[in-house]
C-alpha cells in the first residue's frame, strides 16, 4: 500500500471498516512511513474528540421542552404572560421559592404517569415544608478517601463522616467538613483547607464551592427538586414512590430517583464523582410533617448496587456556633492562587502532558523544588516530603475522559518508586492553567 492508498483509507481505518487484509496493509504502511503516521494520528485525535463530544451530549433531549415553549408563544398568546413568566423563572436559574416549585409540579403532573406525578408531589410538599429554614445541619456517611474531593465516590473505601452547617439568616455562611478537608464561607470569603498544609481562598462569598455543590443542593430541597424534576423530564430518569412504616412507627413516603450520568462505562471518570455517577437516590419523607428525613445514595456499577452515601441526621433551625465559620489554620499552610507567568513560560506551555509529568517527577526526584513548583498550585511541604527523592519507573501515554476533555484536563499514567521504597502506580491528573497555559497537577498523587 502506498501513501495515497493508505491516506484514502484513514477514515475507514479509524471507523473499523477495513477488512483484515486491508487493515494489516494500512498498519504496515503506517509503521514504515512517518508522514502518514503523523497524519493518521491527527485524524485519530479528531475522531476521539468527536466521539467524546457526542458521548457528552448523548443524554440530551430538549426537543419537547423547547417545543412546549414554542407552542405557548405560537398558539396560546392568552397564556403567554403567566406561562412565560413561570418558565423564565425556571430557565433563569432562580427557582428558589416554594411557589415556583409548586408551579413546576403542576406542569410535570400534566405530563407524567400518575405514580411518577405522586412522587413528584411528595417532593414538592417536602420542599414547601422546608422553605422557611434559618439554618440547617446535615451529617452523612460517605464512602470516600478522607482527603479526596468532597464529591469523590470510592465504593471500596470505608465510610467517613461528612457534614454541612449552613446558616441562611441573618447572613449566609456555611462549612463543609470531612476528615481530610474543610471548606468554609464566612460571609465574605470562601476558603478550602486540605490537611495538613494546603489552602485556597477566594475573596468572595459563595453559595457553594470546592466541589460541595451536591451537599448544598441536599440542604436546599427546592434546588434538589428543580434538578431532579429537570432530569426526570428531560432525560427520562425513572422515579418511583412507595409507602412504608418508619422505625418510629409513622407512615413514610419514599421517593426513588434513578440518575444516569450519560458517561460510557469505559470513561475514566464514570462513577467517580456524584456528577459522573449512575446512582439511585432514595428520599424519605415523613407523611405527617412532610419533611425530608433521610437520603440514601446507591452507586450502580457492573458489580451491582452499593450504598455510598447515607444522610443520617438533618437538624433544622438550630443555632450554629459562630466559631464554626472561622478556620484556625496552621502556620505552614501553602496557599494556591493565580499561577505566575515565568520568564521562560513558553517552554512549559509547549509541553505535552506526558512531558510535564516527567519533568515534574524528575524535579521531585532531584529535590529541585524551584523547578517542581512550576507544576503545582502550590507545592506544599507535605507533598515535598512524599515526593522528594523519588525514582521514575515509567510514564505512559495520556488519556482523557469526556468530562476532562471539556474541562481541559488529561490523565497521564505513571509508576514511581518513593524514597521509602513504596511503589506508586496511578494516573496523574494534569490541567492547563487558563492564563499561563502551563500544566499543573490537579490530582492523582
Amino acid at each position: 500500500m502506498n501513501c495515497a492508498e493508505c491516506r484514502d483509507n484513514f477514515i475507514a481505518c479509524v471507523e473499523g471498516l477495513l477488512d483484515r487484509d486491508q487493515s494489516l496493509q494500512c498498519q504496515a504502511h503506517l509503521e514504515t512511513c512517518a508522514p502518514c503516521r503523523a497524519e493518521y494520528e491527527k485524524v485519530a485525535k479528531l475522531q476521539q474528540c468527536l466521539v467524546a463530544r457526542g458521548q457528552a451530549a448523548a443524554g440530551v433531549r430538549i426537543v419537547e421542552s423547547v417545543m412546549r415553549r414554542v407552542r405557548q408563544e405560537q398558539f396560546k398568546p392568552e397564556r403567554e404572560t403567566i406561562m412565560s413568566k413561570l418558565f423564565r423563572h425556571r430557565w433563569g436559574f432562580g427557582l428558589s421559592a416554594a411557589a415556583g416549585a409548586a408551579a413546576i409540579f403542576t406542569v410535570i403532573l400534566l405530563a407524567m404517569p400518575n405514580a411518577q406525578a405522586q412522587a413528584v408531589a411528595i417532593m414538592t410538599k417536602g420542599a414547601q415544608a422546608a422553605a422557611k429554614l434559618t439554618s440547617i445541619h446535615l451529617r452523612g456517611q460517605l464512602r470516600t478517601a478522607p482527603q479526596d474531593n468532597f464529591s469523590a465516590i470510592m465504593p471500596d473505601q470505608d465510610f467517613v463522616t461528612i457534614e454541612l452547617w449552613k446558616q441562611f439568616e441573618p447572613e449566609l455562611k456555611w462549612r463543609v467538613d470531612k476528615p481530610g478537608r474543610i471548606a468554609v464561607m464566612d460571609g465574605h470569603s470562601t476558603m478550602l483547607f486540605i490537611k495538613p498544609d494546603y489552602g485556597y481562598k477566594v475573596a468572595q462569598r459563595s453559595s457553594s464551592a470546592f466541589d460541595t455543590q451536591w451537599l448544598h443542593e441536599m440542604a436546599d430541597l427546592n434546588k434538589t427538586l428543580e434538578n431532579e424534576l429537570t432530569a426526570i423530564k428531560a432525560r427520562g430518569w425513572p422515579v418511583t414512590l412507595t409507602q412504608q412504616q418508619g422505625a418510629d412507627g409513622k407512615a413514610k413516603s419514599v421517593v426513588s430517583v434513578e440518575a444516569k450520568s450519560g458517561l460510557g462505562t469505559g470513561d475514566y471518570l464514570n462513577n467517580k464523582f456524584f456528577s459522573t455517577a449512575n446512582t439511585r437516590r432514595v428520599y424519605q419523607f415523613d407523611n405527617a410533617s412532610e419533611l425530608l428525613e433521610s437520603v440514601q445514595i446507591y452507586l450502580h456499577s457492573d458489580a451491582g448496587e452499593k450504598l455510598v452515601f447515607n444522610l443520617e441526621a438533618i437538624d433544622c433551625n438550630q443555632p450554629i456556633d459562630p466559631a464554626m465559620f472561622q478556620l484556625q489554620l496552621p502556620a505552614n499552610v501553602s496557599w494556591g492562587g493565580d499561577m505566575p507567568m515565568l520568564p521562560d513560560n513558553e517552554k512549559y506551555a509547549a509541553m505535552t502532558s506526558e512531558q510535564a509529568a516527567r519533568a515534574m517527577f524528575e524535579a521531585c526526584g532531584r529535590e529541585d523544588w524551584t523547578e517542581a513548583a512550576k507544576f503545582f498550585n502550590p507545592l506544599t511541604g507535605s507533598m515535598k516530603q512524599i515526593l522528594g527523592g523519588l525514582q521514575v519507573v515509567s510514564i505512559g501515554t495520556h488519556f482523557t475522559s469526556v468530562m476532562s476533555l471539556i474541562m481541559g484536563a488529561e490523565f497521564v499514567p505513571y509508576e514511581i518508586k518513593l524514597k521509602n521504597g513504596e511503589t506508586v502506580k496511578f494516573n496523574l491528573s494534569l490541567k492547563r492553567d487558563a492564563s499561563t497555559r502551563r500544566w499543573f497537577v490537579d490530582g492523582g498523587i
Partner: protein
C-alpha cells in the same frame, strides 16, 4: 426524507411551527456540546441550549440566510452563555459556577472549537458528522438513514474530516 435547514426554516416561516422541532432534534446535541465546552457545566449548558433554541425561534423571521441557520444558532448560543456568565458575576453569589465559566470561557479557543468549525462545513457533510458522532449511529446506519451507499458515507466523512481540520488549523492560526 430529511429536509435541508433552509427548507425547514422556510416551512416554519410559512406557519409550520412544529417543523422547528426537527431543527431542534438535528442540532440539540451539538449546541449542548458547544455550550458545555463554553460554560463547563452540564446542567447550565442544557438550560442555555433550551433558551438558545427558543430565542432562535422568536427571531427566525430575521434570519437573512436560512441556509446558515446552524452558524446563526451558535451565535445565539454564544450570547446566551455570555449572559449566563455576566448574570453569575452580577449576582456574585455562586463563585463556583462563575469560576467554572470564567475559566473555560477564557481557555484557549483553539483547543476544541469543534461545533464552530462544523458550521463551516457544507450541510450534507455536517449532517453525516452529526449522525455518526452526536447521534451515535454506525456508518452503515448513517448510510441507511440517508439512503446512500456506505462508500459515499465514508467519502463524505473523509472530506468532512479534511475540511474540519483545515477550519480548526485556520482558527488556530487566526487565534495566534
Amino acid at each position: 426524507m430529511d429536509l435541508t435547514d433552509k427548507e425547514y426554516v422556510e416551512r416554519c416561516r410559512d406557519g409550520h411551527a412544529e417543523d422547528f422541532g426537527l431543527l431542534v432534534d438535528r442540532y440539540q446535541k451539538s449546541v449542548f456540546s458547544f455550550l458545555a465546552w463554553r460554560v463547563g457545566n452540564f446542567s447550565q449548558a442544557e438550560e442555555a441550549a433550551q433558551e438558545s433554541f427558543v430565542r432562535a425561534f422568536r427571531s427566525l423571521a430575521k434570519l437573512r440566510k436560512p441556509e446558515s441557520f446552524y452558524s446563526w444558532l451558535l451565535g445565539i448560543a454564544g450570547r446566551v452563555a455570555q449572559e449566563q456568565f455576566r448574570a453569575e458575576l452580577r449576582r456574585g453569589q455562586d463563585g463556583e459556577a462563575a469560576e467554572a465559566m470564567r475559566t473555560n470561557a477564557t481557555s484557549d479557543p483553539a483547543d476544541y472549537p469543534l461545533e464552530e468549525a462544523m458550521a463551516a462545513l457544507p450541510e450534507n457533510h455536517r449532517q453525516v458528522i452529526l449522525l455518526r458522532y452526536y447521534e451515535g449511529l454506525s456508518c452503515q446506519e448513517v448510510a441507511t438513514r440517508l439512503a446512500m451507499p456506505l462508500g459515499t458515507v465514508t467519502k463524505t466523512l473523509s472530506r468532512a474530516y479534511l475540511l474540519l481540520r483545515q477550519e480548526l488549523e485556520a482558527r488556530d492560526f487566526r487565534g495566534s
